[in-house]
């Protein structure tokens, strides 16, 4: 028996009737969303509509929040995310996450990069160094930091810190990258750098990016999902190819939101 796993399909992530509660408070209600492999999917919607919470379900960070309770089903690459035999450590290697505020660890750039690699079994120094250089080049940080890898990561600028965090996640060769408003704390130049980074990652990774910036969603994403708060509970109103969602949305709520009438 292969435990009734659905066949690998075009979806990296699929949620079915996903509900999330913090304690007794419902935060997400009946979210059914399919995220296509290799594409960039953006999630838009007002503050408090459960976008961040939705991302944290997808790599089971909700396990760390004592009051969080999930029901419904989530499939990552066709596998049930909440099956009892899921190894969350492996899962989180495959599903990387970037937070709104960059969180470099309080030690050197080098150690920030190497610690996760070592933890995931890459012990060889040369291999580590190669991987670190590759991903730091991918995020456009290599030239800026190659001479000061031993310096503290806390000394980097906000934009550099965020790119370091992205590199740190990419170094683990994830299949899916969840990004929670990665540019919201950054200046326009850093934002542009991260946007073009996302463009260059397209195809190799499945990217889910939460953004408040509608123009950004239009620029970088293939698909867009719109979350809205219904009586304090986050719901998915509509998801569609980005062009369609912005030009010809099916739901009047979406139309109002993308035209800046509400929210």
């Amino acid at each position: 028996m292969n435990k009734g796993k659905p066949k690998l399909n075009q979806y990296s992530i699929e949620t079915q009737k996903l509900n999330l509660f913090y304690g007794k408070t419902p935060v997400l209600k009946e979210v059914n969303l399919q995220i296509k492999r290799g594409l960039v999917t953006s999630i838009i919607g007002p503050s408090g509509s459960g976008k961040t919470s939705f991302l944290t379900v997808l790599n089971r960070l909700t396990d760390l929040i004592p009051a969080a309770r999930v029901d419904g089903s989530v499939f990552v690459n066709g596998e049930n995310l909440f099956a009892p035999d899921v190894d969350t450590i492996q899962l989180r290697r495959r599903v990387g996450m970037i937070f709104q505020k960059p969180v470099p660890f309080p030690f050197s750039i080098q150690k920030n990069m190497v610690l996760p690699l070592r933890e995931h079994g890459m012990k060889d120094r040369r291999q580590q160094a190669e991987r670190v250089e590759t991903v730091l080049r991918d995020v456009g940080l290599w030239e800026e930091v190659k001479d000061r890898l031993s310096h503290s990561a806390g000394l980097l600028s906000g934009g550099q810190q965020q790119r370091l965090c992205i590199a740190r996640a990419l170094a683990l060769k994830p299949e899916i990258l969840l990004m929670d408003e990665p540019c919201s704390a950054l200046d326009p130049i850093s934002t542009a750098a991260i946007e073009s980074l996302i463009q260059s990652l397209k195809g190799r990774y499945t990217i889910v990016i939460v953004t408040h910036n509608l123009a950004q969603a239009r620029r970088i994403s293939d698909e867009t999902a719109f979350f809205w708060n219904v009586e304090g509970i986050g719901q998915l109103v509509e998801s569609a190819p980005t062009e369609i969602l912005f030009e010809a949305p099916a739901d009047p709520l979406t139309k109002a939101y993308v035209h800046g009438i509400r929210g």
Partner: protein, 270 residues
């Protein structure tokens, strides 16, 4: 105005007290005093065995309190999410214990370590009793340090698939080192100046101890004995108090230095 007056008053009082001890104690401080055995109940001779006993008692205290304290703090901060009954019970118990007078610890240590465990009046009994006494402060301070690691750091670490062990070892323990040092300072200070708890456990034999199972007189017990029970012991009581205060100051200064150093490294860190 009044507050300033009170503050100045407190400051003056502190300098008067320290000044008094330093002035009266200083003449008694010689190499012989630090190097020799006490004679004539401490009126003559020195305090070498007392220093050795004190050090041995503190070592026993640290040797037991640090690992137990660290372990308990990690349990409280990391493995009992604030709501488990066990966690709550332990925390409540510690808060009560922290305010129990030392004489009670002395009686407890005497009953449990000296008699029940058969360790008698010994450095070991005294050290273990002091360990019980300083544990509450130590645990609560370390726990606070562990808890100070922000949730965002923990979430980022988990999102990279770091194991619990790696998170503890590389992110949480290093962050707790300054609070461990602060807890140690508080604990050591309390242990070093403790008299009541030791009279019943490590006793007051002033010979040079030969093992941890020998009775040994700590510095504070020595001062107490000279001041209260030995007519004409004043000079040496003051000299011993001088040594005690210098020790306390050095521990204080050393810890401040360490905290400063770590503080700076962590600031550079983030």
């Amino acid at each position: 105005m009044l507050c300033t007056g009170v503050a100045v008053g407190v400051g003056l009082f502190f300098f008067w007290l320290i000044g008094d001890i330093f002035l009266k104690g200083a003449p008694g401080i010689t190499w012989e005093f630090l190097w020799d055995e006490p004679e004539n109940a401490g009126r003559k001779g020195g305090i070498a065995p007392v220093l050795v006993s004190t050090a041995a008692i503190l070592l026993v205290t640290l040797g037991t309190a640090v690992p137990i304290g660290f372990g308990t703090a990690v349990f409280l901060a990391e493995f009992s999410q604030g709501k488990t009954t066990l966690g709550r019970m332990v925390r409540r118990a510690l808060d009560v214990l922290a305010s129990v007078p030392s004489i009670i610890f002395g009686l407890f240590g005497n009953a449990v370590f000296s008699h029940w465990m058969g360790l008698g009046f010994s450095i070991l009994s005294g050290g273990l009793t002091l360990a019980c006494m300083v544990l509450p402060i130590l645990i609560r301070t370390i726990e606070a340090g562990l808890r100070a690691v922000p949730l965002s750091t923990r979430l980022s670490a988990a999102a990279l698939g770091l194991s619990r062990v790696a998170v503890l070892r590389d992110l949480i323990f290093p962050a707790a080192v300054p609070s461990l040092a602060a807890g140690l300072l508080l604990g050591l200070g309390r242990a070093l100046s403790e008299t009541a708890a030791l009279i019943f456990t490590s006793g007051y034999v002033s010979r040079m101890p030969e093992s941890l199972l020998d009775s040994g007189r700590s510095l504070s017990v020595h001062i107490y004995d000279l001041a209260m029970n030995v007519p004409g012991g004043d000079t040496h009581a003051y000299a011993s108090a001088w040594v005690l205060i210098v020790l306390l100051f050095s521990i204080n200064g050393l810890t401040a230095l360490c905290l400063d150093h770590w503080g700076k490294t962590r600031m550079r860190g983030l």
